[in-house]
């Protein structure tokens, strides 16, 4: 991550003013199984989705479902942020949304399986109330319904 001093002024102000909800408590659920038995979900705030699905617009706190067997050419990134280097994702979707890597973890026997559905949100939200209270918990429940034992979350 760029150090604060490496960012441009507008980025600095955005990051410094970013609402940082400070919490006293920290919910924590222990993993109940050995790794090689878990079903893992991939969730991201990188603002990716299936081509043709509704694009993310400013302040959009809904999620998009991406089938875990989708291919990279079916996925685009419509993240609405003020700007970051997208050329890494142009070259390799896995750098933000490691679908292929999760497939390999299953092939290598490191995890048991992945969920059939992955979920994408859009990050860099100044007031993520709906994500915290509605769409986030909803996605979690959908994943639990699919038998997810854990989720790995990737940022933009």
């Amino acid at each position: 991550m760029p150090r604060i001093e490496d960012l441009t002024e507008i980025q600095r102000q955005t990051v410094l003013n970013f609402p940082c909800f400070e919490y006293e408590d920290a919910p924590f659920v222990r993993l109940g199984k050995p790794f090689r038995q878990i079903r893992l979900a991939l969730v991201t705030t990188a603002g990716v989705h299936l081509r043709g699905d509704k694009t993310f617009t400013a302040g959009d706190q809904s999620y998009r479902l991406i089938p875990s067997n989708a291919s990279a050419r079916d996925i685009i990134q419509s993240h609405n942020s003020i700007g970051f280097d997208r050329t890494a994702v142009y070259r390799d979707l896995n750098v933000s949304f490691p679908m292929d890597r999760l497939k390999e973890l299953v092939e290598r026997g490191i995890i048991g399986s992945t969920t059939a559905s992955y979920y994408s949100f859009m990050g860099a939200q100044t007031n993520p109330k709906r994500i915290l209270e509605e769409t986030g918990p909803e996605a979690a429940r959908l994943l639990l319904d699919e038998g997810a034992d854990a989720a790995i979350l990737t940022p933009t």
């Binding site: 919490y23 924590f28 400013a58 291919s71 750098v95 918990p137 979690a140 429940r141």
Partner: protein, 225 residues
């Protein structure tokens, strides 16, 4: 934030985070701070083993007995840290027609897509790349403040949103074509080329200026980077 919501719903999570200070305050249940820029969460594109090291380190945190846990990934990825923006450079292309430039780059773009098994980042605007000449005319008309009846803009998207998506698509087209044309580039070389030398880059710079003039600062900023 999302990690907390998931964990509170009963699903154990581990997260990659790009902002260490932020993570220290928001306390996600398990987080691996990675020293990479936005857009490089797994560190190195097309380096599966590096990405696997990042993933494994994050997944290891699922074994923790209690949280919150914040670890730091020890390897660097040599990713470019500072994103060049259009205001940092001077565009020298005063004469070029962006539509002709797109046509000239098209064969590289098509080669890129073929070499990536049909994958391209172009697609946000919904306008197919073969129709980009019309899209350019639409943006030029906005810059000039002249009316232009653009039939292809989807009705459900606002004009500003559509122009952001159009800018994303034009950038993706040009940069993918350039990466095909010149595969070995150093930090920022792509962005320097785009903003300094191309007619499409100049069009987007002018579009951003016009948007800023019209009070659309965020859209302007997003388009010019």
């Amino acid at each position: 934030m999302l990690a907390r919501a998931f964990e509170a719903a009963g699903l154990p999570t581990t997260s990659l985070v790009l902002l260490k200070d932020h993570a220290q305050r928001t306390k996600p249940p398990r987080a691996l701070f990675v020293p990479f820029p936005y857009g490089f969460a797994l560190g190195k594109p097309n380096d599966p083993e590096f990405q696997h090291r990042v993933l494994s380190t994050a997944l290891e945190l699922l074994n923790a007995a209690a949280g919150p846990v914040l670890a730091e990934f020890p390897e660097d990825a040599d990713a470019p840290v500072r994103l060049l923006q259009s205001s940092m450079v001077q565009n020298i292309n005063n004469e070029g027609d962006p539509a002709n430039e797109l046509t000239a780059m098209r064969r590289y773009y098509l080669q890129w897509v073929e070499q990536h098994s049909g994958r391209t980042a172009v697609g946000n605007s919904g306008i197919p790349s073969r129709r980009f000449r019309g899209l350019v005319r639409y943006l030029q008309a906005y810059v000039a403040g002249t009316p232009y009846d653009y039939q292809e803009k989807p009705a459900e998207v606002s004009q500003i949103q559509f122009m952001r998506q159009a800018a994303d698509d034009l950038k993706a087209f040009m940069l993918e074509a350039r990466m095909q044309q010149r595969p070995n580039h150093r930090d920022n070389e792509l962005q320097e080329w785009f903003w300094e030398e191309t007619a499409v880059g100049l069009l987007l710079t002018r579009l951003a200026e016009r948007l800023k003039h019209d009070g659309e600062e965020r859209a302007a900023f997003g388009i010019a980077r």
